[in-house]
Amino acid sequence: MINFNNVTKVYGKDSIALDHVDLAINPGEFVFLVGASGSGKSTMVRLILKELEPSAGSITVNGVRLSSIPHRSVPRHRRAIGCVFQDFKLLPNKTAAENVAYAMEVTGQKRRAIRVKVPQILDLVGLGEQAEKYPDQLSGGEQQRVSIARAFVGQPPILIADEPTGNLDPDTSVGIMQLLHRINRIGTTVLVATHDKEMVDVMRKRVVALKGGRVVRDMVRGGYANEV
């Protein structure tokens, strides 16, 4: 589903973010990408979204080589990847429902379809009651749920979350992780970049550890720490 083939990313002249990374993520997998700040997690996420171009190597997403996607087709590529961010990135002038609807407007879906789908998905993330609230009227956990709903509303084959629990307290984080897990169980490939140790240890999913831009560990049912 997502393949990194000997990928290197250098910022500026000699700041190496990723160093010859090889990684294969299969359809339907749930993968944690762990590592300290600056280990290259966010760079990988941004490369997958084609926000950045690799300095060397190639990346394939959904069977398409990213380097072969012309600039004007990047929006189409991004619609196939649901995205959740640490800072939620909700549109502040839109209600929860409108934020979710925007992701559907972008793909040119009919208003009727949007009116049916948005309440369903908000119910799914447990925000049926908060649909008409604006982001600043919602708690951090609720905002993150809106952002997950927005990422998932188009039913993309891949969902990427970059530090989804980074701004949330542990109890709230559990709810978010359960939500991501549920999305994974219905067949979505989920990639979570995080340094939330507790969460990774509890979930017992595939863990890919990065250090200094290299993959230092890849375990099928791993924990955060360097255990066997």
Binding site: P75, C83, K89, L91, N93, G108
Partner: protein, 294 residues
């Protein structure tokens, strides 16, 4: 993708409501710039009109010899009226000429005492369609037998006036172009500030998978609406101001040929509003483009 006009219009309207202060700024800037441009247009139209009016007053006066019989005068008149360059021929008889002098000297009637009416010469005042043709017309009149002493035409004044007219009109056109450039810069700057405040929003839209056009369209519609509103206000003020000016000039400056026909009101309205709308569209288009590179 479907072009969802309803969605874009709702987005643009909502953005303007939420960013009301910025919208007011953009509308005001557009209005001020279009106002300046409109005043420039009016001034140049009126100056052109006045110069044309002054040019119309320049005439060639051909005096008839004192002993010329009436039939000869009539024949000459008809002949001159047939010249293609000539707009109008006015015959001034000896008596009329005397009356004019009396009018001019009405403050000192004693000067006229004992004056012999025969001292005046009958003449025809020839108005030209284009003051530049005075030389040619004078040449023809000379060929008709009018001696140089009997021809009075301010040849130098005419040619100088033509030159000055040209300079003034070109200067006004240059000033108008400068105003136009200045207003485009001012307005696109105002729009850029308003969009800069929303660059995070644009970034999020692009991350959710919105195409450039999808993000841009509401902003461009917003620019269009703001340009339209600002320009309409300014254009109405300009047209109203023009009407007031023409009325005032008619009373206060009777010697200056200011006429309302110098300005095509409808054309000015259309031009100003079109300029405002174009500036709004181009300004927002260019300003959004800078923030679309995500």
């Amino acid at each position: 993708m479907r072009f969802n006009l309803g969605f874009f219009l709702r987005e643009a309207a909502k953005n303007m409501r939420l960013n009301a202060l910025m919208s007011v700024t953009a509308v005001t800037t557009t209005a001020v710039c279009v106002l300046v441009l409109g005043v420039g247009l009016l001034v140049s139209a009126h100056v052109e009109g006045i110069l044309r009016g002054v040019g119309k007053d320049v005439a060639i006066t051909a005096f008839f010899p004192e002993d010329a019989p009436g039939a000869e005068i009539d024949a000459a008149r008809r002949q001159v009226e047939g010249y293609p360059e000539v707009q109008e021929v006015v015959f001034v008889s000896e008596g009329e000429a005397l009356n004019r002098v009396k009018d001019m000297l009405s403050e000192q009637p004693e000067v006229m005492e004992g004056l012999d009416p025969g001292i005046m010469q009958a003449s025809m005042e020839i108005r030209l369609a284009d003051p530049g043709t005075s030389d040619a017309v004078a040449e023809r009149l000379r060929a008709e037998g009018f001696s140089d002493e009997n021809l009075n035409y301010p040849q130098q004044t005419i040619s100088q006036l033509n030159q000055v007219t040209g300079y003034v009109i070109w200067a006004l056109r240059a000033a108008t172009v400068l105003f136009l450039v200045a207003s485009v810069l001012l307005i696109s700057n105002a729009i850029r500030i308003s969009i800069f405040a929303r660059r995070k929003e644009i970034e999020v839209m692009k991350l959710v998978g919105a195409s450039d056009g999808f993000v841009r369209t509401p902003f461009v519609l917003e620019g269009l609406a703001q340009g339209l509103l600002g320009a309409t206000i300014a254009a109405l003020v300009v047209v109203w101001g023009n009407a007031m000016f023409v009325e005032w000039a008619g009373n206060a400056l009777p010697f200056v040929p200011v006429s309302s026909s110098a300005v095509n009101t409808l054309l000015v309205l259309i031009v100003l509003i079109a300029v405002g709308v174009l500036i709004g569209i181009i300004g927002s288009f260019l300003s959004v483009r800078r923030f679309l590179r995500v």
